[in-house]
């Protein structure tokens, strides 16, 4: 039996195994799931090398599974993050209900994601895509089991639309190019806008919805915030990258195989969609009061950067996108873990309710600090590299000067929510309400710290990520990808030496820290946060001294026009109008699930039967 099939089988069996373990002993569910994925990862990384391929036939269809450098790059994200997230889950999920359901779906999601990246034909791609979507849907509604309609419905609808779009595109590809293999489709120019424009558009729609591109981002924040934090790590860190995976595949192949000057608008539209996603995600992130929602909107914004990077189609731009995909998985994974740890320990992540956890959860704070600096893109941590690549790509290669300002605006405004996140949870007054809070258990801290270390090392040695990324780029058609271990160079030859910067910062840090600490050491007192100068008055016990409500109100007022463009409202209006329009067809909807299933089957059968007539 093929090794890849064994791996997928392990995951599939493991998914059910976990479910059964849960009904015997709840204690071991998490550990089992962790071990299964760990073993899978171990087998995968030792046995499977890039270039692996496996062809077989099923029901008359030629199927092909395999790994290029490009997909291998995403496997790192998926398996690496999954292992850490599951280690984190063990304690995080402890004591919660329906653990078998949770872990089973979790492993199934991993299976789906892994399947998506190893599929080299459209049929298995669609198949695994659906497994991933449905399994993750089960997890989104995990916390709102009885309120599926209100909580999970957006994700559901958008996923369904995306799946239909992708399916349509696949059918079209089959009709026009008579192939189901991705590599063949690329070779025949199926993703090219020049021939059948709707094929790449449908595909981009399908992937774009997963990557939460504006205007399809509305599902993402509630879904990210509602699902359990240990899963959101994967959801935002890895699964959204599946959309990026697809867009990258489609877009770069188009870009490299045709004359891009003719399709300036394609680049521009995609780039601006990414840019506006980044801005919208950022400005909505900074008005959130719930830390989870803040991170969710921030994820949307970060995916916007990645889309912008892909849209340039240039070497630096795609490199930026791939780099950001990894570094975003790293720091956002860590941040969602931090939010989960706070939620677990303090009971809530509402930033208007808690404050001053820094002394209670010091390790968590350090992780949060490192990840936030990475997120904000400030040197010397890993986030800066991504920002640098993106700007330089836009300025020097893509010449998209207004878009770079939009991206810059979004990333400067990101300082605001970065601070808000740290301040809201960890800084500010230490109140009596949070006195009982303790540091999270070790199995939750360790994965966070690992991610934080990766984010730090990537700042001085981004080459560690550039290496696989460059290979991946070569796999999708870029020639002569250049990179250096610890410095950045643009096409004009201007360099930024990251290792030197990191060393300099470290040296100054040590010198000034030692100076400041040793000077007057005995006469320096460390006091609590109640000991502040409140104009000579003594605050009453019930008075709140932490600034929690409407943190960035002045900015909101200044940027009021931006806040008027609420995508949610537009979709809602659209929904209402459609509802009125389709009121006529109301009778078709029986409200019975089986009827709907029947409709779908009929639709598919008709599509398959009359494909030649319809699409010739």
């Amino acid at each position: 039996m093929e090794i890849i099939a064994i791996i997928l089988l392990i995951l599939l069996v493991g998914s059910f195994l976990t479910y059964f373990v849960d009904s015997f002993n709840k204690k071991w569910t998490g550990t089992t799931a962790f071990l299964i994925v760990l073993i899978t990862a171990g087998i995968f990384f030792t046995k499977i090398k890039s270039g692996y391929q496996f062809n077989f036939q099923l029901a008359g269809l030629d199927l092909q599974w395999g790994l290029t450098d490009y997909s291998y790059y995403f496997v790192y994200i998926i398996l690496g993050l999954s292992v850490l997230a599951l280690l984190y889950s063990i304690k995080y999920m402890e004591g919660k209900a329906r653990l078998g359901y949770f872990y089973g779906s979790f492993i199934l999601t991993v299976l789906g994601m892994l399947g998506v990246v190893i599929s080299q034909d459209f049929v298995s791609l669609f198949f695994f895509w659906e497994i991933m979507t449905w399994a993750s849907f089960l997890l989104v509604i995990y916390n709102a089991y009885y309120k599926i309609k209100t909580k999970g419905i957006k994700y559901m609808i958008f996923s369904a639309v995306g799946a239909y779009a992708m399916f349509t595109a696949i059918v079209f590809i089959h009709v026009h190019y008579d192939t189901l293999l991705i590599s063949e489709a690329i070779a025949k120019g199926a993703f090219n806008f020049e021939q059948y424009i709707y094929i790449p558009i449908f595909l981009l729609l399908g992937f774009g919805i997963k990557a939460a591109v504006m205007p399809f981002h509305v599902w993402a924040p509630p879904a990210y915030a509602k699902s359990p934090m240990s899963f959101t790590t994967i959801f935002s860190g890895a699964m959204s990258k599946m959309g990026v995976f697809g867009i990258g595949l489609v877009f770069t192949s188009f870009y490299l195989s045709s004359n891009p000057e003719n399709f300036f608008w394609v680049r521009t539209i995609l780039g601006w969609m990414g840019g506006i996603t980044a801005v919208m995600g950022t400005i909505y992130a900074l008005i959130q009061t719930d830390a989870k929602k803040l991170l969710a909107y921030s994820s949307v914004a970060q995916l916007g950067y990645i889309i912008v990077g892909l849209s340039t189609g240039t070497q630096l731009g795609v490199m930026a996108a791939l780099y950001l995909a990894v570094i975003h998985a790293v720091f956002k994974g860590a941040l969602f873990m931090v939010a989960g740890a706070v939620e677990k320990q303090a009971g809530t992540t509402d930033m208007t309710q808690i404050s001053g956890l820094i002394r209670k959860m010091p390790y968590t704070f350090v992780v949060a600090l490192v990840s936030i600096i990475a997120l904000a893109g400030v040197p010397p941590l890993g986030g800066f590299v991504g920002k640098w690549l993106l700007y330089e790509a836009l300025i020097t290669e893509s010449n998209n000067y207004i878009l770079v300002v939009v991206v810059f605006f979004s990333s400067t405004a990101a300082f605001m929510y970065s601070y808000r996140f740290l301040f809201g949870l960890f800084l500010g007054q230490e109140e009596k309400e949070t006195e009982h809070v303790k540091e999270a258990p070790a199995t939750m801290i360790i994965p966070m710290i690992i991610l934080a270390i990766i984010a730090t090392v990537a700042g001085a040695y981004p080459g560690l990520i550039f290496e696989p990324a460059a290979k991946a780029m070569q796999a999708i058609g870029f020639q002569d990808v250049t990179w250096q271990m610890s410095s950045l160079t643009n096409v004009w030859g201007d360099t930024t030496d990251l290792f030197l910067i990191a060393m300099l910062i470290f040296a100054v840090f040590i010198i000034s820290f030692v100076f400041l600490t040793l000077k007057g050491l005995k006469k320096t007192r460390y006091v609590g946060t109640k000991d502040i100068s409140t104009s000579g008055e003594l605050p009453k016990e019930w008075e709140n001294l932490t600034f929690q409500l409407d943190f960035f109100k002045p900015f909101e007022r200044a940027a009021a026009p931006l806040y008027k463009m609420d995508m949610n409202k537009i979709w809602k209006d659209l929904g209402k109008n459609l509802e009125a329009f389709f009121g006529f067809f109301r009778k078709i909807y029986t409200g019975n699930g089986q009827t709907y299933a029947l409709y779908i089957v009929i639709f598919l059968v008709v599509l398959l039967l009359f494909r030649d007539v319809l699409f010739s």
């Binding site: 100068s533 104009s535 605050p539 709140n544 409407d550």
Partner: protein
């Protein structure tokens, strides 16, 4: 115990933005004030209690300390109240001198207000200039009374001493100088687009509620209602002097600033007129031995106009050598407590000190 959601912000007592020693406790959401509470009592010296233990003339040392930025209207009002109780006549020359002194006091208080209003908006230069130039007025006071701030100059029956030699010329010169300087201040402060942006539409007192809320003085005239004690109940020489009481529509900080901008010019105008028409004769209708001086029983309610608004004294005498009750009503008593608590909610924190200065809140006047 349920912790409040809004942030509590203490403006004062130890705060650069507060006018004097008081505290405004703000509940803030974002940077918008949700609720404001005035807390006073930090300057309570029990003046009214102490005056009951002093004789009529000794009270003057305490009286002028009622309000620090502008002590003279206090003396004047109390002197007038005592004169009304006793039926003592004031010589014509003393009336003019009192007018001059009280207008000079207004001018120096206006200059201090320039400093406060511009300082709270972040423009320190005007404050430095105007507070520096205020010293010229204080020099005039020093020549006249021997003290810079607290004068105890206007007594029942007139003023304590006559104008010194050469004082009138000096006063003219000072007025000329100040008039020139005012142009500069106004250019820098009121013609400044940023100041206009800051001041307009901030701290609005509604016109239809203003009188009912107890708003007096420049804030009232800033809503377009013309009311000034100097015209409504003319005292001293104001009925013989020709001057204009400016009003401005809007009721916001800007309107109040515009009213004061005109008023200081009018004050200079009044001083000039009073100096021009200064009659000769006696300046003091001498009272008997102050240690044994008694004032007939009765009550008096006397008002004068100060910079912050009207100053009223309710004085009750039981016929002894000590006042039975002296009760001050300063403009800040309503402005600083009930009016402020009404207009602050909804404003930006950046404007709290700004509004406070434009209302001329003076805490010692509130708690006495």
């Amino acid at each position: 115990m349920i912790r409040e959601k809004e942030t509590t912000l203490y403006i004062g007592p130890q705060h650069p933005g507060i006018t004097g020693n008081m505290m405004i406790k703000l509940k803030v959401a974002g940077d918008t004030v949700v609720k404001a509470e005035t807390h006073v009592g930090y300057l309570h010296r029990a003046f009214e209690k102490l005056i009951e233990n002093r004789n009529w003339l000794q009270s003057f040392t305490l009286l002028c300390r009622f309000c620090v930025p502008e002590p003279d209207p206090m003396e004047l009002t109390f002197a007038r109240a005592v004169e009304e109780l006793e039926g003592r006549k004031v010589p014509e020359r003393a009336k003019y001198i009192r007018t001059i002194v009280s207008e000079l006091a207004r001018i120096q208080s206006f200059l201090l207000w320039y400093g406060g209003q511009s300082g709270s908006s972040g423009l320190y230069t005007v404050g430095q200039w105007s507070v520096g130039d205020r010293n010229y007025i204080l020099d005039l006071f020093e020549d006249l009374t021997g003290a810079r701030i607290y004068h105890m100059y206007m007594w029942p029956g007139g003023v304590r001493r006559d104008l010194p030699k050469g004082w009138i010329d000096k006063a003219y010169r000072t007025m000329d100088y100040l008039e020139g300087r005012l142009e500069t201040y106004n250019q820098l402060l009121f013609d400044n687009a940023i100041f206009q942006k800051r001041a307009q539409g901030v701290g609005i007192i509604p016109k239809d509620k203003a009188i009912e809320w107890g708003v007096v003085g420049a804030p009232l005239r800033g809503t377009g209602i013309k009311h000034d004690v100097r015209i409504d109940e003319p005292y001293e020489a104001y009925d013989k002097i020709d001057f204009v009481v400016p009003t401005f529509e809007g009721g916001d900080v800007w309107a109040r600033a515009m009213v004061r901008r005109e008023e200081i010019k009018q004050s200079i105008h009044i001083v000039r007129q009073a100096l021009d028409h200064l009659p000769g004769g006696s300046y003091y209708n001498r009272i008997p031995n102050p240690m044994k001086w008694t004032v007939p029983a009765g009550e008096a309610w006397v008002k004068t106009e100060s910079v912050r608004g009207e100053v009223g004294f309710y004085v009750a005498s039981d016929g002894s050598n000590k006042p039975r009750r002296v009760h001050l009503k300063g403009a800040a008593y309503t402005h600083g407590v009930s009016v402020l608590e009404k207009i602050l909610p909804g404003e930006n924190i950046a404007d709290v000190s700004f509004i406070l200065n434009s209302l001329g809140v003076c805490p010692p006047e509130i708690e006495r």
